[in-house]
Symmetry: none
Subunit: 416 residues, 2 copies
């Protein structure tokens, strides 16, 4: 079953708005049917472009979801284009008109002549009334291709796709293969190394497609299983996930929507132990990432942003002599920050970061991009040096990520 | 000049990721050239679909931006498809190869055989090296159509489109009027009020187009000047900016790349006074925003993330009795946090935030979304209550923004 989407709207081509509707449709379609959209096209409110897109899709698709351009104003062209492209006229739908009049009456609004345009549909099309708005879902058959026309207003789009479009597509699929997708999230392995490690698994898992995407500093492995039934697809996916996780080891920190910060918090939550932070170059970024996760307060005590040396002394009890001898960006300072804030708070785990984020700063030994991360916990203390090339934003983002990852790996390796 | 975009990537069709790159390209193109993208197509990592999209675009466009599929892995097909579609072979680019080897060497990583694929380009194509990654920008001419192939990694995409693709497209428009753009950034004025305040200026500045963009919680005023020469455009822009700033007053905090955090830091930098933070619900986000700004260390002493009540006591000397009587989310607690951390650090200015970010928490009086921000400085102390509807991410983002804006307004209003 080949499915494409067409979104119409000038605002989607000028950087003002992005198409967020399609993403929810795609996810729903994949979840409920295992189908993926084959192509997604955005065109402006331009008559010839809309008709060209409809004709091209009709020639190659089984189903097309078209959104936008069903409003009451003069730049809403979709229904007229659908009629023209199919070589039929626009006719008034009595049900759509009655629904529209009832909606306006219920709101005490007058129906203006241009509102009536929303009851016009291509002759021969099926109409499904829209409880969220005045434009109906229009279903038009052209040869072997079914077009579903829905409004672009997110609330209406979501209602109609979820309750009418996706269920109708799912009903067509008896006998078609089912697809199920899982994302495994990986740190510390470049995309090319990840690919190389997965290659030997491909022949063992013929129902799986292995794909990759990079979200620096993370890389994600896409496992897409295809099988005659959902149960078989899920079984093939589970077997491949098991093998992939065995190969990836601790490089894999989570799946799907899990974040690295969430994974790090989860390690400590399971141990029923708390965390305290001491951040220099990241300036609060590690704390911000951790507290994005709902329920972070079950684990996070708090933290200190020790931006100046005086702040390192005040809150992390790092002696100024240590800073002047070893340097603020050093193994010794990172460990002292972590140990000091842990001592002051009485919390089981502490995590620290210090580095030169640039653009200025740095020394001959420790240039901009040099970062130390340290973890102190029950019976363990570790410190790592990293070097991250790039600008301030990149150094800070990678530094926060390295800190969270060190915490995760250290806590996982400690007996609970 | 007809321009289209093609994005490749299975993940853009399965609801996992949405294409946010195109939006920035479209906005930049419109701002700098006045051109809009005519059509935007997304296809998966499917050879025949990519080639079909390239061929269709070549037949009708003057320029096409193609993104994604230039990585080192087996599902990165774009360069090979570009060669096949044009009927040429893939050849190794010596510059791209040298660049790739140097990048890997600098990171101490081995170059694997599949990395070498990133140096392959269609014969006859121009190569522009990419300082942000290993895949170059590939420029391929097919008849009257120029294809620009860029990686999909946002950082690389943005760099290459901003510095190479858009300037080349702009250069084709010689003889056309010169356009210059300035963005004025505004807080505390809804977009419709901003529009209403600017309307009287339009007739006085005939060379200017006034546009608006909303970046919640900020609104941006786009001043686009068009004139036969750059000097005339700049003069018209400067005159309009002067008038606009007079109307906006302190609602306008900066222009173009300036951030609210940067504006707040600048107020204190001018006074040669320092800042200390106490954050609860934002968990380090205010610190992270401030330290994004290069040179933040000239102003920021540091801060504390007082996530638990015990942390409020330890670092901001907020008595537990105050928290239990007034509540952790209260006027009294916000002021005590700011006063406490200022006292402990001996710094001139302090800024605090406390609120309920959700999804759980909140009380009958102070539901999820309630946020207090406080500033204490030389001879001044202020506290504000806000209520931000929305999810955890939105409450935290708006809370951090409100805190920075209170600091900026308070410091600006204090005699220096």
């Amino acid at each position: 079953v080949r499915i494409e989407t067409i979104c119409t709207g000038d605002e989607l081509l000028t950087g003002l708005t992005s198409d967020t509707n399609s993403r929810t449709f795609q996810a729903l379609l994949l979840d409920l049917t295992g189908l993926t959209v084959r192509r997604s096209v955005v065109v402006g409110d331009v008559r010839e472009d809309i008709i060209e897109a409809l004709d091209a899709a009709a020639a190659r698709c089984d189903a097309v979801l078209v959104s936008g351009g069903l409003g009451p104003t003069s730049d809403d062209l979709t229904a007229a284009c659908a009629a023209d492209a199919a070589g039929v006229e626009l006719v008034e739908s009595p049900e759509a008109l009655a629904h529209l009049r009832a909606r306006f009456a219920a709101r005490g609004l007058a129906v203006t002549p241009n509102n009536l345009r929303q009851a016009l549909v291509p002759r021969g099309a099926e109409v499904v009334l829209n409880p969220e708005g005045s434009a109906p879902l229009i279903i038009q058959q052209r040869g072997g291709c079914t077009f579903f026309f829905v409004p672009g207003v997110p609330r209406e789009y979501h209602h109609l796709t979820q309750h009418h479009v996706v269920p109708r597509l799912a009903a067509r699929l008896h006998g078609a293969p089912v697809r199920v997708l899982k994302l495994l999230k990986v740190v510390g392995l470049p995309e090319s190394h990840l690919d190389a490690r997965m290659t030997p698994l491909a022949s063992k898992h013929p129902r799986l497609t292995f794909g990759y995407r990079t979200h620096p500093p993370e890389n994600h492995l896409k496992l897409l299983a295809e099988a005659p039934t959902r149960a078989e697809a899920l079984a093939a996916l589970a077997a491949a996930e098991l093998d992939a996780r065995a190969v990836l080891g601790s490089h894999c920190f989570g799946a799907d929507e899990e974040s690295l910060a969430g994974a790090a918090l989860q390690c400590l939550r399971q141990r029923q132990e708390r965390l305290v932070l001491a951040e220099s170059c990241t300036g609060g970024l590690v704390g911000a990432l951790l507290t994005e996760v709902p329920g972070a307060s079950e684990v996070l005590f708090g933290g200190v942003i020790t931006y100046l040396d005086a702040a390192k002394l005040l809150w992390a009890e790092v002696p100024l002599e240590l800073v002047s001898s070893a340097g603020a960006v050093s193994r010794a300072c990172a460990l002292a920050m972590a140990a000091g804030v842990r001592e002051a708070s009485g919390v089981a785990w502490s995590l620290s970061v210090t580095g030169f984020a640039g653009p200025d700063g740095g020394t001959a030994d420790e240039p901009v991009g040099a970062v130390y991360v340290a973890v102190v916990g029950p019976g363990v203390q570790v410190v790592e040096r990293h070097f991250f090339p790039g600008d301030r934003e990149r150094v800070r983002r990678f530094a926060a990520h390295a800190a969270l990852d060190l915490l995760r790996r250290t806590a996982q390796a400690q007996p609970g």
